[in-house]
Amino acid sequence: MAELKMRVWRGDDEGGALQDYTVEVSEGEVVLDAIHRLQATQAGDLAVRWNCKAGKCGSCSAEINGRPRLLCMTRLSDFEPGETITVTPVRTFPIVRDLVTDVSFNYEKASELPSVSLPPRDADGKRRMAQVDVERGQEFRKCIECFLCQNVCHVIRDHEDNKPAFAGPRFFLRYAELDMHPLDTHDRRELAQGAAGLGMCNITKCCTEVCPEGIKITDNAIIPMKERVVDKKYDPLVWLGTKIGIRNKDNDGREAAPKQKASPVKRPR
């Protein structure tokens, strides 16, 4: 066992401060292990979210020495021996307590997004899709909803007032996934541009940089999605074709997706 110096933000929505701790740690441990040992031995009420401790559930997002990371996938050996590790809550969402923030923004945005809409199955009751066609969407469905991309996106990190009009990278990923679904029948391009604020993203790639799943959010989802929106909206040939009644193949069999309702996720009264 060695000793680790930590600074952990303690407080609530009314304020708080970094507190210094010294905690025993051992070989191979991650930051979440150190936080757990603090809880068990020095600070029983230290609030932190975690579930799987295996990088699969996306619950333990925080900022470690200022970098958005998963607490369970950040190894202590990544830091210099003797270095103090500072853990603060993600900054973009309101504080609940200590390292726990109110992430309901993300659940509201999720409910605004129209779900998949597939045609009837084949005659034998099954569906057929090629592996190469599902792979594009599969990359985006690796998302563990840690919301680190949302946290780091400067459109909302630095501009609280943008939140109502901007869904954020996690949901652009979802728009792209649905748009690239080989069988889906809805056209969500106008929603992506309008309600979700895709145009506000100026592709600084911060989201891609922090994604613990290594999803190429900007290159594979946001940029192609922007291109699709632009194709529909601004391409003069497409515009002319629509005017004189020539159908664009990209619109075949697709109808505009309905706008969705309010989030069914409840908060304490």
């Binding site: 191979g28 799987c52 996938m73 307590r97 989030s263």
Partner: protein, 604 residues
């Protein structure tokens, strides 16, 4: 504490309240909603974080996409034999029959499964399954299931109460369920639900063991809630130790390594480099298991003319074999054995089929699984036991109380086959949701819960009123050590008796808890409530394990090494004792399988 009591508790009325938002809870809620019931999902984590995300390999369903010979009868047979015939036959039958349609349904709702060359849902090999049968998405199938069901539930507008923990169930004067009580983790304020139907979908108990693949939520809440409401638990002696958990570094000891590694060609070796599983093929599976390396290796491509590699025996067999090798001194440097896929498959294949495993070992252990073998050992993974339910409706012994998924019992008998958990969730989730909705539709009178609220509040706040100096985290750590050392993979009467003594001492200490801090988001308080569930459920496991004097599936007794047909015909049933501070145990004959199903077991 009187000044802490809330006069005006947040109260809601629903037809169906589902506790838990993993695969089975979400599927139950969707079914109840579709049947017209006003439905709420209550989950102690955020939506989409449930333990289902940890499931890796796939969903077992006899869709016949790779092997047209596969059908529900073969799946039924595999499941019963995997459970050493202790399964509730009717559950195993319904499960095998309905799983394929439930999987197709996930695809209707947006799941993107891996495909066969014909464009159908791909199916992969797993232990104990005769044919490649697991619908999968790389090695993150559970995540795909949870996300699909989560998105469906949100689309349907089903109310979700997140980070809200249920501490008690209420019953009316008629003895039927009338509601549930809990607290919001965020504020520590209370919330009550009035509902004639409650579906328990709370998952398992693995957090009572030190080396486990389970998350913090797995404190046996549903098991304990059911006991306290008067329902019974069965099969609690059967705890599955997954053969392959990580063993190093210490902080991730127990973390799951998917069975898909073996399904996709990985083999087990000891420190002498020997592929040892050929030495551990039990009589029961001799006829269907390859006895040479050559036959085993041919099987991946030609299942008709070859038998299954012994690495793909059911989990209980493989876990015991690994345990024996380690005990015999042929283990790896960190006390495990080797799981090798690097020498068997190309890096491209491994990246494609096992991306999360590659990521997990690279990030957490500095091991590149395309280049070197993994060190692995058994880890507590799943409890076969749970609430005794009616196989068709998942109704417990209490009217209005249903149980699904890992917190229900019977489906898997003494040992669960890999892949049968995810299919269990959606098959019985749907059935429970429909039955719960039907009951509510037929129950016009709602029992008031107001008379129960004050006592429930007082109980939940008790830990703030210090009666001693005990720390819940320390008691939890001591319980985990006890269960690991004395109620683990190999058991003896002496150790089990000792464990029961230690659990009694821990129960006594848990009466003297002290919590620091206040009510908003206070994990110390949360654990002080959960710890009582963990202790009650641990007592069930130890007591049933001591009573069952045989070895079968997930229950291995060093002092009774073989299976005993007399024991094979009965279940052990646990109920809350009359003083409410422990459990009583009784024997009950197993439901008898009808003759037309018995024939599947006569051919071999």
């Amino acid at each position: 504490m009187a000044d802490n009591i809330e006069q005006n508790i947040e109260k809601h009325q629903y037809d169906v309240v589902v506790i838990g938002a993993g695969g089975s809870g979400l599927r139950a809620a969707i079914a109840a909603h579709d049947a017209g019931a006003k439905t709420a999902i209550v989950t102690k984590s955020l939506l989409g974080k449930a333990h289902t995300v940890m499931a890796e390999g796939g969903i077992a369903a006899a869709m016949g996409n790779r092997w047209p010979e596969d059908n529900w009868e073969v799946h039924f047979r595999d499941t019963m034999r995997g459970g050493k015939m202790l399964n509730n036959w009717r559950m195993a039958q319904l499960h095998a029959q309905e799983a394929p349609e439930r999987v197709q349904e996930l695809e209707d709702w947006g799941a993107l499964f891996d495909r066969t060359d014909d464009g159908l849902i791909s199916q992969r090999d797993f232990g104990g399954h005769r044919y490649a049968r697991l619908a999968h998405v790389g090695d993150r199938t559970g995540l795909e299931m949870i996300r699909t069901l989560q998105q469906r539930a949100v689309e349907l507008g089903i109310d979700v109460f997140m980070e809200c923990t249920i501490t008690e169930l209420f019953k009316g004067d008629d003895g039927a369920i009338s509601g549930a009580f809990g607290y919001w983790r965020e504020t520590g304020t209370f919330i009550a639900f009035e509902a004639p139907s409650v579906v328990l979908a709370t998952g398992g108990i693995g957090k009572s063991f030190k080396v486990t693949s389970n998350s913090w939520e797995y404190t046996g809440d549903g098991h304990a809630l059911a006991l306290r409401a008067g329902a019974a638990l069965i099969n609690m002696e059967f705890v599955q130790f997954h053969p392959t958990g990580m063993v190093w570094p210490p902080s991730v000891k127990g973390l799951l390594v998917t069975e898909s590694v073996r399904g996709d060609g990985g083999i087990l070796k000891n420190s002498e480099g020997k592929r040892f599983m050929f030495d551990y093929i039990p009589e029961f599976f001799k006829a269907e298991t390859a006895d040479t390396v050559e036959e085993a290796d041919r099987w991946y491509d030609d299942k008709k003319n070859n038998r299954r590699p012994p690495e793909l025996l059911p989990r209980d067999e493989v876990a015991r074999a690994i345990n024996s090798e380690i005990k015999a001194g042929r283990g790896s440097p960190h006390g495990g054995i080797y799981l090798d896929i690097a020498s068997r498959r190309s890096p491209e294949f491994i990246h494609k089929r096992l991306p999360s495993m590659h990521h997990q070992f690279k990030e957490l252990a500095d091991v590149d699984i395309t280049k070197e073998p993994m060190e692995i050992g058994p880890t507590c993974h799943y409890v076969m036991g749970g609430v005794e339910v009616d196989p068709d409706t998942e109704l417990s012994g209490i009217q209005g109380l249903y149980a699904v998924g890992e917190c229900s019992g019977g489906m898997h008998g003494s040992n669960r086959l890999g892949g049968n958990s995810l299919s269990d969730l959606i098959v019985f989730g749907k059935r429970a949701g429909e039955a719960a909705a039907a009951r509510s539709a037929g129950t016009s009178a709602r029992s008031s819960i107001d008379g129960h609220l004050a006592a429930a509040e007082e109980a939940a706040l008790a830990p703030f009123d210090p009666k001693g100096d005990e720390n819940a985290y320390t008691i939890q750590a001591d319980l985990q050590q006890t269960m690991n050392d004395l109620v683990g993979i190999i058991r003896t009467a002496d150790e089990l008796e000792q464990s029961l003594k230690e659990i009694e001492q821990l129960k006594e200490r848990a009466k003297h808890l002290k919590v620091e801090g206040a009510r908003p988001y206070n994990p110390g308080w949360h654990l002080s409530i959960d710890i009582h569930n963990m202790l009650l459920v641990s007592e069930c496991i130890a007591k049933a394990a001591l009573a069952r004097q045989e070895s079968r599936g997930g229950h291995t007794r060093d002092d009774f090494p073989g299976p005993d047909p007399v024991w094979g015909a009965k279940n052990l049933v646990l109920t809350l004792n009359s003083s409410g501070d422990g459990v009583d145990l009784a024997e009950k004959p197993l439901p008898v399988m009808p003759d037309e199903l018995k024939k599947f077991f006569e051919e071999k």
